[in-house]
């Protein structure tokens, strides 16, 4: 049996211990990858951000969208009705059902760790979330994949590119997190 930290009312579910233990979640994600590789192709997420961009831009300003060969190639046919996009669409759906089923749907703007370090100003959190999201997807597209495509799918295929990208990602993420959340500097 897993030890469950009781959910305090002031506590967002993200601070509680997860429903699934790491090994169960890990095996599950590994199995999703295996099924995907057997039936279609390895899993990936970040390219679909480009696809959505392409389809939206093409709907509003088709001339500008067509000037980007990368956009035209990634969002082939300017359609969202693809296996890849529906896979990504499934992620929030599955997460919503899982969160609802385990009563872990909680609305909060500022996450706990961020609040401890940077205070509860929602504007500040949102501005940095936007900037961080920008870097996240810029880096993912530059590298050709994200945590799903490179780390999970890529390393499972022993792709050298995925080892390089994942190593750089973790080194940078760990250094940035250390600088951002310096111990002893927290103002509670």
């Amino acid at each position: 049996m897993k030890k469950n930290i009781p959910n305090r009312p002031d506590m967002s579910h993200e601070d509680a211990s997860p429903v699934l233990r790491w090994w169960a979640g890990g095996i599950g994600i590994g199995l999703v990858l295996i099924v995907a590789v057997a039936l279609v192709q390895p899993i990936g997420v970040s390219a679909q951000y480009v696809v959505l961009d392409g389809v939206l831009l093409h709907a509003v300003l088709p001339d500008i969208a067509s000037t980007s060969p990368y956009l035209a190639k990634t969002a082939q046919g300017w359609t969202l009705a693809t296996y890849e996009f529906f896979f990504v669409l499934g992620i929030p759906l599955g997460a919503l059902v899982a969160a609802m089923a385990t009563s872990r749907f909680t609305i909060r703007v500022v996450p706990t760790e961020w609040k401890k370090r940077f205070g509860s100003n929602p504007g500040r959190r949102l501005v940095w979330s936007f900037a961080g999201g920008f870097l996240l997807l810029f880096g993912a597209r530059f590298g050709g994949g994200c945590t799903s495509g490179h780390m999970i799918s890529g390393i499972s295929q022993l792709a050298i590119s995925s080892f390089v990208f994942s190593a750089a990602l973790f080194i940078s993420g760990i250094i940035t997190a250390r600088l951002l959340y310096r111990d002893g500097a927290s103002r509670c």
Binding site: W22, I91, L135, L158
Partner: protein, 177 residues
């Protein structure tokens, strides 16, 4: 139509697993990067360990639909470094941000919005980046077994075992923080 339904179903399973195992939690991700709570590292290692062995087992029988990404050393290192900063700032990755969106996290909505802008910016910069940064150390879609000239299972089986072993060995946080 069937492939769309399959995509949605696999994606939903993936999203549910991310949610239930805490991968979409800002606290879990940030504390993983601060090396204070290695649950997420254990989760990733376990997924990769299972994936390595399963994918190469499929490959052994010719059932694996592989899709290996190109190697371009300098560009990949820079890309990983940029990604890492975004990862630590947001506490999400492109997939878990979508899961967190569905759990009612407005900072994840904004992360996705920023992500759409970042992806668009890259799309328009791509021709220049491809001709410059992505040409240095460019080798195409190579894998370790390709380079070594052996079947992938020879590497996947021991490496997968090491991943699972490491996942079990890394410390788990002792209850409350």
């Amino acid at each position: 139509m069937l492939t769309l339904a399959l995509g949605l179903a696999l994606g939903a399973a993936f999203g549910a697993l991310l949610q239930l195992s805490g991968a979409s939690s800002h606290t879990k991700i940030v504390n993983a990067l601060r090396l204070k709570d290695l649950t997420i590292m254990k989760l990733i290692l376990m997924a990769i360990g299972v994936g390595l062995m399963g994918v190469h087992l499929l490959d052994l029988f010719g059932f694996a639909n592989m899709k290996v990404k190109d190697l371009y050393l300098l560009g990949l290192i820079l890309a990983g470094l940029i990604f890492g900063v975004g990862f630590a700032l947001t506490g999400y990755c492109p997939g878990t941000a979508l899961a967190a969106c569905a759990e009612g996290k407005p900072d994840a909505w904004v992360t996705v919005l920023g992500g759409l802008c970042g992806a668009l910016a890259f799309a328009f910069l791509f021709p220049e980046v491809e001709e410059s940064l992505m040409t240095i150390g460019r080798y195409g879609p190579v894998t370790i077994p390709d380079a070594a000239g052996i079947h992938g299972m020879w590497i996947a089986a021991p490496l997968g075992t090491v991943c699972v072993w490491l996942a079990m060995r890394l410390p788990e946080p002792g209850g409350a923080q």
